[in-house]
Amino acid sequence: MWNDARVVLAKDLAVEWRSHVALRQVLPFVFTVVLLFAFGLDRVLVNDPLVSGDTVPVAYVAPGVFWLAVLFSAVMLVQRSISSELDDGAWDQLRLWGLDPAGVFVGKAAAVALQLLAIEVLLGGVVCVAFGVSVPSSPGAWLLIVTVMVLATIALSAVASCYAALSAGIRVRETLLPVLLLPITVPLLLASVQAWQGALTAETAAGWAWVRVDAVFAVVYVAVGVLAYGALMEE
């Protein structure tokens, strides 16, 4: 399985390297989403020192905006992951070459996760600057931030890859995939936002409690993906 996973991962990364979709399309999309949130939720989000009025402390709002933007980009990345197979019929070949389906799952989910992580790192910087988030100084808070980022990314990539495979054979896949996937991600979104809020407001103990949810989510959906991807790949 690991061999097959490595082969598929290498291929997916090569495709991204050659086509730059994540770089040229998903990344700008993610920045645009953050900007749209800022405009759409004016007064709630924008901490303008020259304007008085009700604004929510940035430490509570920035994680929410960040993780929502990450959710949407995950949907795009995983759509791309599956459409690169479906466009020219390579999905059939993947099934026919006798690859271990668990390996295909791990390879594809890992490729999505790596791209997502890269986007998150860049996005994190942008959100901090744009919303004026005061970056925590304690290493404990940073450890919490990074742990959540990694776990949530793995969890999100796993569950999104499962749903991408499930909807692969459906003609209305492009509109159906978000409908199916997004409700499932609610606990992940909730937990990640709560954990980061804890990190940013120096309530790290409370934040660490939420990491458990991310971890359970990741374990559960990686396990489901590994066990069920064979069935998911079939028509």
Partner: protein, 265 residues
């Protein structure tokens, strides 16, 4: 309702006895459900609400928890049937029918739970919708998840593809149910004080308790009855499709014959 078959008399007799038994069971279930629900309705109106519940719509305690329970039971049934279909050794299309029935029933009951919860909330909190309430939030997420499962089912496809998609969709949704439940519960209890591990056991006894338990029983019986009938409907739908398929096959074969007899190859 079974098609007549050319079977030896004993098999026919056995078969019609089975059908009769099933019909008797279904009739009994239906009748008991009706009676029990009527009883619960009467009791719910006459029995005062237990002390720990307040608000004008508090009598919904005799209905709302029961509908929530049924929706969970439906989703559990759904995932068990899905797994039975997925496992090659136990794969039978009947499991897909049951899984589909359970999904539909589950969506209906979870919607009802949500609506009743909103009505109760109006009475208790003053507003219909309060996302922070653990029960309301988890009910809503469950509703959306299983609407997705039902949507998967409606897509036009062959019975096998549909069964596979439903089964996998159910599995993916169900493993999330405990995660949703607990994370939303934690979220709700977040700012209510540091030691809210377990709420005090609400005191309820006597008639209110009996009525509540009765409502659970009544709704469970209703659920069983609905399962039987909805599964039958799913089976009949497939039978209709099967008949359609046979017609389509005959028409398809005729394509070949006409072309052959018409123009020489």
């Amino acid at each position: 309702m079974s098609p007549s078959t050319n079977q030896p008399p004993q098999a026919e007799g056995r078969r019609s006895r089975l059908v009769r038994d099933r019909q008797t069971i279904s009739w009994l279930l239906g009748a008991s459900a009706f009676v029990l629900l009527a009883l619960v309705s009467v009791l719910a109106i006459t029995t005062p609400a237990p002390d720990y519940v307040q608000g004008e719509a508090s009598r919904l305690i005799y209905v709302h928890p029961a509908t929530a329970w049924v929706s969970y039971a439906a989703f559990a049934t759904n995932v068990v049937c899905a797994l039975l279909w997925l496992w090659p050794r136990t794969r039978k299309i009947g499991w897909d029918h049951a899984a589909g029935a359970a999904a539909h029933i589950g969506v209906f009951f979870v919607s009802m739970t949500f609506v009743l919860g909103a009505i109760w909330g109006r009475g208790t909190w003053g507003t219909f919708f309060r996302l922070r309430d653990a029960r309301m939030a988890s009910t809503l997420v469950l509703l959306l998840m299983y609407l997705g499962v039902v949507t998967l089912r409606q897509l036009p496809s062959s019975p096998t593809s549909r069964a596979r998609r439903t089964a996998l969709g159910s599995l993916l949704a169900f493993v999330n149910v405990p995660i949703v439940h607990f994370s939303v519960l934690w979220w709700d209890t977040l700012h209510q004080g540091p030691t809210l591990a377990k709420p005090e056991k609400p005191s309820i006894d006597g008639m209110p308790l009996a009525t509540m338990l009765l409502s659970f029983v009544a709704f469970t019986v209703l659920f069983s009855w609905l399962m039987i009938h909805r599964t039958r409907i799913e089976r009949w739908n497939d039978a209709l499709l099967g008949d359609d398929l046979d017609t389509a096959i005959t028409a398809r074969q005729a394509e070949g014959r006409v072309a052959r007899s018409g123009i020489p190859a």
